[in-house]
Amino acid sequence: MIRFDNVSYSTNGIKIISDVSFELKKGDFTALIGANGAGKSTVARLCNGLLKPSRGAVNVGGFDTALVRTSRIAKFTGFLFQDPDRQICKNRVRDEIRFSLECVMEDRAEIEMRCERTLKAFSLDGERDPFSMSRGERQRLVLASILATEPELLLLDEPTTGLDYRECMHIMECISVINRKGATVLMVSHDMEIVQDFTREVMVLNDGSLLAHGRTKDIIRDESLLARASLLPPQITELALRLGAGYENVITVDDMVSAVKKKRGGAE
């Protein structure tokens, strides 16, 4: 679905991304993690052609992003930005979802059908003014308008920043559902708990270079790797690492409970 071949990106003489290569297959759910300024958002923007590589090639859904317009790639790609207010441009929730659909399709009946279905699925009031909604609700509206287009590739640039736990879980559940339906998801995130709970693969970026790309459960237990990228493992993983033997497979709270019970049982 996405292939980066020795991609570098520079702007104003400053190298942001350096010689990055990776491949994401259809249906993958991958997180892109790294410290501030590591180049995560740049990689996400390179994925849908908002930025063109200075060197190397980015291939998305069979298109070389340097050769096609972003609006063409947007026909099968959804991009959720951190700030929902940059994406909302209509005064009614219904119009906002409809606008997204109109950008990628022409069949009026299909647009209306998908619009109503999305409103229902996300429990949104179609007549409401988006700018009177809370930040979490606005982010959910933007996600709804993206998912209404049924994208094959979903790019998320820190989608849960500034949201409370409930809103955060709601957004991530919606993303998981579309991933289970076959969409490829690439998520830029700082939240290691979210990364651990929802993604299957992780890429670690540091200073514009790709440090590692592997299974989430392997990457988040590699403390030295995470330290090189100025990151910390999720708290439950850190606890498991400190406890040592018998806690090697602990990734979630449930895993920890099982491991502790097993230990206690053994001691008894």
Partner: protein, 255 residues
């Protein structure tokens, strides 16, 4: 490199001038372009602007702005040149469209004046801190701080809104709006719906800035509150005389 109105730090002769002298210089350069009838004089003012930008170490920014202005002015020139029907015909085209010597000269002067009057203002804003600008307006000109602050904040917000607009266009392109079209008219048509998010974010930013200023005791501030003084030195007087001479020369220049 920042936006064309962002402050560019430096320690050049122009940077060190009193902000009031810089305002006067830019104002006189603009005035001289409007009072003169000489295209060569206008051209000299534009070259002087570029030279001053080089002295201030912002020549690349000035040239980038000059390029943008030339593109815009070329559009204006071609519209204007066909609307003036007086004078001797220089070029005759089908459908009774022609270009006259008066039309060509008027259009040329118009674009030279526009470039010559815009560049000094941008240059002055690029080498003056907004705080210094508002402080000097309060201390030396006697403008109430509220108005001076409002003026400089409005100027400071221009690059912020430009960046915001770029971000909004990027977000809309990502959802499939064809901002990456080569058709300029189509692009202009697509920009109108973006006024809504831009307006909302602008109002939010302004409201946030106003509340923040209020909470820091903005209304308690008096004319004497500024701790920096802005003395008018010999160099400032010299530059002001030079600027005034240019404006007067613009009226009497014979070529």
């Amino acid at each position: 490199m920042g936006g064309f109105l962002d402050y560019s730090p430096g320690d050049s002769f122009l940077h060190r001038l009193n902000p009031l002298a810089k305002i006067f210089l830019s104002l006189m350069l603009s005035v001289s372009c409007f009072v003169t009838d000489s295209s060569i004089f206008c051209l000299m003012i534009i070259l002087l602007n570029i030279a001053m930008a080089a002295v201030a170490g912002i020549s690349s920014r000035a040239l980038a702005m000059l390029r943008t202005l030339i593109k815009f002015c070329a559009f204006l020139f071609f519209i204007q040149v066909f609307f003036i029907r007086e004078g001797n015909i220089l070029l005759s085209l089908p459908f009774n469209v022609y270009v006259t010597d008066k039309g060509a000269m008027f259009s040329l002067m118009m674009v030279l004046r526009l470039i010559g009057a815009t560049l000094p203002l941008a240059l002055m804003l690029s080498i003056t801190k907004m705080n210094d600008l508002s402080n000097v307006l309060v201390e030396r000109v006697g403008i109430p701080y509220k108005y001076a602050f409002s003026l400089t904040t409005a100027i400071r917000f221009i690059p912020v809104f430009t960046a915001e607009m770029a971000g909004i266009m990027e977000a809309q392109t990502a959802r499939g709006v064809a901002f990456d079209t080569k058709n300029i008219f189509k692009k202009i048509g697509l920009i109108f719906p973006l006024c809504v998010p831009l307006l909302i974010t602008s109002v939010r930013k302004i409201e946030g800035a106003a509340i923040s200023a209020e909470l820091r005791g903005f209304n308690c501030r008096k004319r004497e509150s500024g701790y920096k003084s802005y003395p008018f030195k010999t160099a400032d007087i010299g530059v002001s005389i030079f600027a005034l001479t240019l404006a007067v020369a613009g009226v009497f220049i014979p070529f």
